[in-house]
Amino acid sequence: MTDTSAYIKIDNVSRHYGPVKALHNLSIDIAKHEFIAILGPSGSGKSTLLRLIAGLDRPSEGRIFFKGQDVTALPPHKRGIGMVFQEFLLFPHRTVRENLAFPLRMTQETPAKIKDRLDWAEGILSLNGLMDRYPNQLSGGQQQRVALGRGLVTNPTLLLLDEPLANLDRELRQEMEVEIRRYQKQLGIPFIYVTHNQEEALSMSDRVAVINKGKLEALGERQEIYDHPNTPFVARFVGRATRFDGVSDGTTVNIPEHGYTFSPSAPVAAGRVSVFVKNERFALGASGTPGIACKVIDVVLRGPFVEFILEAANKARIIAVQPKRPDMHAIGAEIALTWDANLAHIFPAEA
């Protein structure tokens, strides 16, 4: 007997397209109030997973349960979901009002109920004055809000979002991230949010599922995934990190290319290792102190942070991120690069 008590249960699901394993043996349980991000590089199977949950596609193997009920064979319109697409996919021949009313008409709501829900959507998404326009008369951000509204008007069991912010500019994206997270908390239904942007995943979600080549690499609290990646892929993909090839003798790790040795807090199996250090966890010491001798070749200001582009003796480029301070290193400065040994992630080198 499988335990089907989770609100949404994805149980050992695979989807193969001929020889292509778009998804392979993937299981995730999702709780009622959860905002879960599915994070992975392009082609990793994120959209495939979302299409399976929506019912737009059927798994080759495995089952999907909503509230304990097996929905694997149900068509999309019987699943009670809402969905927001990367390209918005608003109906071009319908006004905003009609787009929003569409899912309600499909579920045969009364005109009074439809009006009620349209007013709700208009208010919560600030669509005042836009209701009688056609989608091509809206800006990207407005279209995005309509798409979100169309996914939410029916009070769905869950909302699926496939990179809904990918087509928006940075400023608007950050604004919408906060909004979307607020809606989720307000509505109390799970949001499954697909993205290849790790910042987006980290800023919005409660938990992050990292997938790579159709396999689940990691699933956990966002802080946990960030601070304690369990695979080299996760260490590299979540957050900005720099990789070093090292050799471990059991207690200390040496990085031959830079001639730097450090002692991790926990013992590391002897042999060749990969060391990952998050870019903001580098420390820049005075030249001459122990560390990797580097020269600052450029300084990039990013709001409250500064990116130091460093060049080591062997010409390798390293990026270190620091909070902005008045007395920071200037271009051309010589420094010694170190890191807190406890915060480096060390894995046996991949073959």
């Binding site: 068509p75 999309p76 319109h77 969905m83 996919l89 109906f91 071009p92 021949h93 569409f102």
Partner: protein, 288 residues
């Protein structure tokens, strides 16, 4: 400097199609209209202004019957073609995969031979000793009378002649249609029928209308198909018109028939385009 230049260039680009239209459409039409208000006597044109031709067409029962038969034929053929072409085009687009291009090229194959040739081939298929009836009789069955030199035979011929065209127009329309909109509708709770009626059909309506007109207009004025296959009771308007210009030598009456056909074709065009709100078929014109 560039401003007047651009305006001039724009004007030139407008002149080119306008000149073409005037040369090849408006001028012949004017000639036809003028001729239709003259008379022909003993194979000669009499340049006296008269509306007699139109009176003849509106009162003589033979012409009225020919016309109604043509109109009914054109409507039936076009509706039938749209109904049949839709699923064909849809399946090519949806499931054709990498063979899509081959399928669409196959649709063009009949156009490689002329219309007369195709009609003669069809005559061979449908006639009394043709492929179908010949086989039936050899098997000891009675021949199908309704496909021998009848309006049914003409109907079959029109379907055969114009099916590739209708499929191609609907196919092109569907090819430009974003099928993911159908997924979006499903995700919004629409069942298959609603997905079709609310999203796929309206967004391909202009393509469908063009497909309809491209079979309606030539069927309305067709002369070859009924001549080869229509039999004694199968005379259509266009066929009768061709006879005015040929055997009977009553060119002016023929010209009047031509004008009637042009007017009805334009009427069909206007009715359909007024009936279709382009906005509601997803047509957005120049904006973005």
């Amino acid at each position: 400097m560039s401003e007047p230049n651009a305006a001039a260039r724009k004007r030139v680009f407008l002149y080119i199609p306008t000149t073409f239209l005037v040369l090849f459409f408006v001028l012949p039409l004017v000639a036809l209209v003028v001729l239709s208000f003259w008379q022909t006597a003993n194979y000669k044109i009499v340049r006296d202004w008269t509306t007699l031709n139109y009176v003849t067409l509106a009162t003589e029962s033979a012409y009225i019957i020919f016309f109604l038969r043509s109109l009914l034929m054109a409507i039936l053929v076009s509706v039938f073609l749209v109904v049949v072409a839709w699923p064909i085009a849809f399946f090519i687009v949806r499931f054709g995969g990498r063979y899509k291009l081959i399928f669409s090229l196959l649709l063009a194959v009949p156009f490689l031979s002329g219309e007369v040739l195709r009609l003669i081939a069809l005559q061979g298929m449908l006639g009394p000793t043709g492929l179908i009836n010949g086989a039936l009789m050899r098997l000891g069955a009675a021949p199908l009378r309704f496909i021998m030199y009848s309006n049914s035979a003409t109907f079959i011929a029109f379907v055969y002649l114009y099916l590739p065209m209708t499929v191609t127009t609907i196919y092109l329309s569907l090819l430009n249609f974003d099928l993911r909109l159908a997924s979006a509708a499903s995700a919004c709770g629409a069942g298959r029928l609603r997905v079709f009626s609310e999203v796929i059909w309206p967004l391909n309506l202009s393509g469908t209308m063009i497909g309809f007109l491209l079979s309606f207009i030539p069927t309305l004025s067709a002369s070859l198909a009924p001549r080869f296959l229509g039999g004694p009771n199968g005379t259509l308007y266009g066929m009768s018109m061709a006879q005015q210009f040929g055997e009977s030598g009553t060119w002016a009456l023929g010209a009047a028939m031509g004008v009637v056909l042009v007017l009805f074709s334009i009427a069909a065009l206007v009715i359909l385009s007024l009936g279709v709100n382009l906005r509601r078929t997803g047509f957005t014109g120049m904006e973005r």
